[in-house]
Point group: C2
Chain length 496, copies 2
């Protein structure tokens, strides 16, 4: 019978070998294509063929040395992986998994604590509380969002889940009978066309249906929510007997980085008793830098605020930071207590049981990886890197402005630059924009993604990878120019 | 300006040091108390005092060497942690975080892939598909639950989330208009008094309200759902114009390990078009052993089946395995596609986009840690350890049966033994049972938790830790006997 787990000495030896693999993998990233040239089913086939890890789709019967897993990873997994940690990854938003955070996460796995209740791991709960209080202060959210100020923070798996629990707290606040009788079909939730799809998903999950989603018009000529339009929509709904429940203001939309005017929106939401959630999943961490904090202006008026440490705060997924102004709001909506979870500490009321701040019961000691990052970099280091990325994006935007045939599709926000190619008449040339994106991505030298704005194709360049430096952004620009030149020189593409 | 992240050589050096810390921590567990003697606020105070990591609740301004984080962890975190990986942890259910799985998870962090779409990391998606197909076969679920059979598996963060998405799929299946108009208040969900609280939470999250939850009577004299009582409850609801949506059958309840008769329940659920979800979070992995597979008898008739790799399958949290018979069911209920997530691979229909199988958008490459476990142990090794734990629990139950003054409170299931102390009249003596539990736990030598059954206090002993061997269970038994002796010798406790 094999040992149930690695012995101490085996773990030491293999752990060092795995750490070395990680070090070599990260060091070797610049030499690899950002996006692998694999088609659907190729990885599955490679894993399932005779002699592979899972021949004929069967798990191995016999134990195998753990060193040999690295061979399969080298042979099949890495060549089949989009390399999000590559310094030339500019797609979506960054999903930083810094080496620093991995070491913090290793400690979390070593402790292997379930933090569902305070009593199931006091340190996991209280370290998270202290760390989130500290970040609330460093971001300038205001004392109201700290535990000492009557609010508090919690680490969720994702901004999607943060938005969902904010919605559930809002539903309970609007109508305390919600826990007993559910939703009644009159609830309404306010977003913009640029609000993240997770809000539509949260509305669906919560049983409201898509009809509950009100898409509020933007300030003309921008992508940002119009507070006046919001006021109009809410008043019309109230007049129709409907119940405004939640307004989601976004700081840095996924499409173009638009920033909804939280300060203007807050009194409108408050006038109708609706919960104001600020989704700053990507951009919110900019609040660490005083000169960038304007993006979260008005956040002190919100009921909840979310920003992802696993995006631009260099912390491995998952670590979405959510703060609420009322520490009782999430437990009031989410608590369910069976006998086997009862304990003296919970009943004393002196502790936080984070299971009541989230949908799942179980939870990992996620604060450790975030702690490792702020320990190793300090706020000075975090600010320096945010500033470096913003400066590189500003430089890229300057290049775009100076270059004929390409324009900024929207005002740049922090590290996000949206651009598109234009024809001789100055109008968008979707075919060229799309072709340039496809050529950049298939080159393997860099990776960018797209959105559609006003019906036209846009290339998004999201600068923010922990390994991304100004030189990588420069190289991307040169690649964009070269590919655009090739596309135009050879173009028989249909024009829009 | 500090480096944005550790250099390759720094990571190599620190990584080895952190691995060594983990090795030493695990090796030293038997010498530490399972539950720390800390009170509410003590960890937070220790972290916030002058000279500590977060003096006055502020984050550090300056970078600090990452080695020094280990000092804080040693000084404050470990002494404030309930040690779930301790071999004498018998509380709740095991939350195994094997060293093997930590190495797999380290690779996941190194790749740092977001697996939301196939195209955002083909290997993360296809490895998960292949691995879950393999486990479906190894567990005897039947080909219908594999991707090649038209179903498929997905790794969720927890069984709570698995139950929630099963419920959402069920709501959509019962009434396709659900995505547009939400729930209508007529939906009903069927559970027992022993069903996990996550079902009540899922019903609340989904907007149904507690009134939607029907608690079905057990087979008399047991804790298992009565199929006849279920049939009666469903028929009455239908007659009243209500809509049965989902039945949750539990294999191994948290309280006492009760097993609902899936084979008898399935036709009742099917007769009313209700979704049958089998929550086998803890016990389901026993299906790997042919002689234990009877606990999941009838699973082939279910619509979905969930078992947690992070409980008794030695894989670090989070890794809850969910299978559905219809691969289209979850995407049909959960898909929301904004422009920036559109891509050719998704539109080809040839790939799985796992974001549509879960509530959050983002997801980690969780298959790697599970792969590491099955690679290192093989099915042979996994079965051997499950059998070892079951044998130790059987031996413990034998001890209980042979000892005067203590009885089994429910039939043992797999690794779970429920016991209570009785008075001279043979009736339960809650005061003694409670006092014994408190003395065992405060001794630091072992940790057990409780439930209440038929209104009386019960000690649960969950055998299943990766480091737990027969000798640890023997030692627990001796400790229980010694503490019971002390309690009875000194007792001035009020008798029930």
């Amino acid at each position: 019978m094999p040992e149930p787990d690695l012995t101490t000495e085996e773990f030491r030896r293999l752990g060092h070998a795995y750490v070395d693999w990680v070090a070599d993998h990260r060091a070797g990233l610049p030499g690899l294509p950002v996006v692998p040239p694999v088609g659907p089913g190729e990885v599955a086939t490679a894993l399932s063929q005779p002699g592979a890890a899972f021949p004929d789709g069967r798990l191995p019967e016999a134990p195998q040395p753990l060193d040999t897993l690295l061979d399969a990873v080298d042979r099949v997994v890495v060549p089949g992986s989009t390399l999000w940690q590559h310094p030339a990854f500019f797609g979506y938003f960054p999903a930083n998994s810094s080496l620093t955070s991995l070491l913090g996460d290793l400690l979390s796995g070593a402790l292997g604590a379930q933090g569902m209740l305070w009593s199931t791991s006091p340190a996991a709960t209280e370290a998270e509380q202290v760390l989130l209080d500290g970040f609330a202060r460093a971001l300038g959210l205001g004392e109201a969002f700290t535990f000492s100020g009557g609010g508090g923070g919690v680490i969720q798996d994702s901004a999607s889940s943060a938005a969902l629990v904010a919605l559930l707290a809002a539903l309970h606040r609007v109508r305390p009978g919600w826990r007993e009788t559910g939703v009644d079909g009159r609830e309404r939730v306010y977003v913009t066309a640029e609000t993240h799809s997770s809000l539509a998903k949260a509305v669906r999950v919560a049983g409201l249906g898509a009809r509950a989603l009100r898409v509020v018009d933007p300030v003309p000529g921008t992508q940002a929510m119009s507070a006046a339009a919001l006021a109009g929509a809410m008043a019309a709904d109230v007049a129709a007997g409907l119940a405004p429940v939640l307004v989601c203001a976004t700081v840095g939309t996924t499409g173009t980085g638009a920033v909804d005017p939280v300060r203007d929106i807050a009194p409108v939401a408050a006038a109708h008793g609706a919960w104001l959630h600020v989704d700053a999943a990507w951009a919110g961490v900019a609040g660490l830098c005083p000169e960038l904090r304007h993006v979260i202006d008005g956040v002190g008026l919100a009921d909840s605020f979310c920003t992802d440490a696993h995006k631009w705060l260099f912390t491995a997924f998952d670590a979405s930071l959510l703060w609420v102004r009322d520490a009782a709001a999430l437990p009031a909506a989410l608590s369910v207590t069976p006998e086997y979870l009862r304990n003296a500490a919970s009943e004393s009321g002196a502790v936080v049981d984070y299971r009541d701040w989230q949908v799942p019961l179980g939870r990992r000691f996620r604060a450790l990886k975030l702690w490792a990052v702020v320990h190793a970099l300090g706020l000075e280091g975090l600010r320096a890197h945010l500033r470096g990325h913003v400066a590189a994006a500003v430089a890229l935007a300057g290049r775009v402005r100076a270059e004929p045939g390409v324009v900024l599709a929207a005002p740049p926000t922090l590290g996000l630059v949206c651009l598109r190619y234009v024809g001789a008449d100055g109008g968008p040339d979707d075919a060229v924009t799309r072709a340039v994106l496809e050529r950049v991505n298939s080159s393997g030298a860099a990776f960018v993604t797209h959105t559609v704005l006003d019906g036209r194709y846009v290339i998004r360049v999201a600068v923010g990878g922990v390994a991304t430096e100004a030189t990588h952004v420069e190289a991307l620009w040169e690649r964009l120019c070269a590919e655009a030149g090739t596309v135009r020189a050879t173009s028989t593409l249909p024009r829009p």
